[in-house]
């Protein structure tokens, strides 16, 4: 159900541009449903996931 992909921003610039990557790490959830910048604590990531899946 969950896939986590590390994406080399330099190698996949088109995708980085699509998701407006300016700082790394940036975690893009479900193709742009949410973007989390920085290495955030697990609880923040969980809150973000809850927010977008609650829709």
């Amino acid at each position: 159900m969950v896939q986590a992909e590390m994406v080399g921003a330099m190698e996949f610039q088109e995708l980085s541009m699509k998701h407006n990557v300016s700082g790394v790490p940036q975690t893009t959830i479900n193709d742009g449903a949410a973007n989390v910048v920085g290495a955030v604590p697990e609880s923040n990531m969980l809150a973000e996931l809850k927010r977008i899946t609650a829709k």
Binding site: A4, M6, V7, T28, L49, T53
Partner: protein
């Protein structure tokens, strides 16, 4: 061909892999054209996999093995799947790398292999409960740069 990992690094990885309990299977997807780092990424993984007998690897081509790539939801080259292996059974935990795992990402690669070998995500109970209840797939793409 010259090796990408020197003896010091090799030794460090060997030490890091020493406590590994369960087996890990790495699936590498390359591509013949427009893939600047495929050859290097493949060589790097081959050198890493060689260090532990608990790690196996199969090599695929994104175009020639399109069915397998689709099955594992791999759409980029180099694309790497780090899966669990128990006997002949491969279990996909959803761990992927897109791009060559160099620089900091090399450490992430080694840690991911160890994590998958431990069969434990180390996530909190809250997170586990939430993920268990998911009804739609979630894709997390973590954009990184090598430095």
């Amino acid at each position: 061909m010259a090796t990408l990992l020197n003896a010091d690094v090799r030794k460090q990885i060997e030490d890091a892999f020493a406590p590994m309990k369960e087996s890990v299977h790495v699936m590498f997807f390359g591509q013949k054209e427009n893939c600047e780092y495929c050859a290097d990424a493949q060589q790097l993984l081959e050198e890493v996999v060689e260090i532990s007998e608990k790690i196996s690897m199969t090599i695929y081509d994104l175009d020639d093995d399109a069915d397998i790539a689709k099955n594992y939801n791999v759409d980029k080259a180099p694309g790497i799947v780090i899966a669990a292996k128990d006997g002949d059974v491969i279990s996909d935990f959803g761990v992927r790398f897109a791009g060559i795992p160099s620089g900091h990402e090399f450490t992430s690669l080694i840690q991911d292999i160890i994590l998958v070998s431990g069969r434990d995500s180390h996530l909190s109970d809250d997170t586990r409960d939430f993920l268990k209840a998911l009804t739609e797939p979630v894709l997390l793409q973590v954009f990184v740069t090598p430095t």
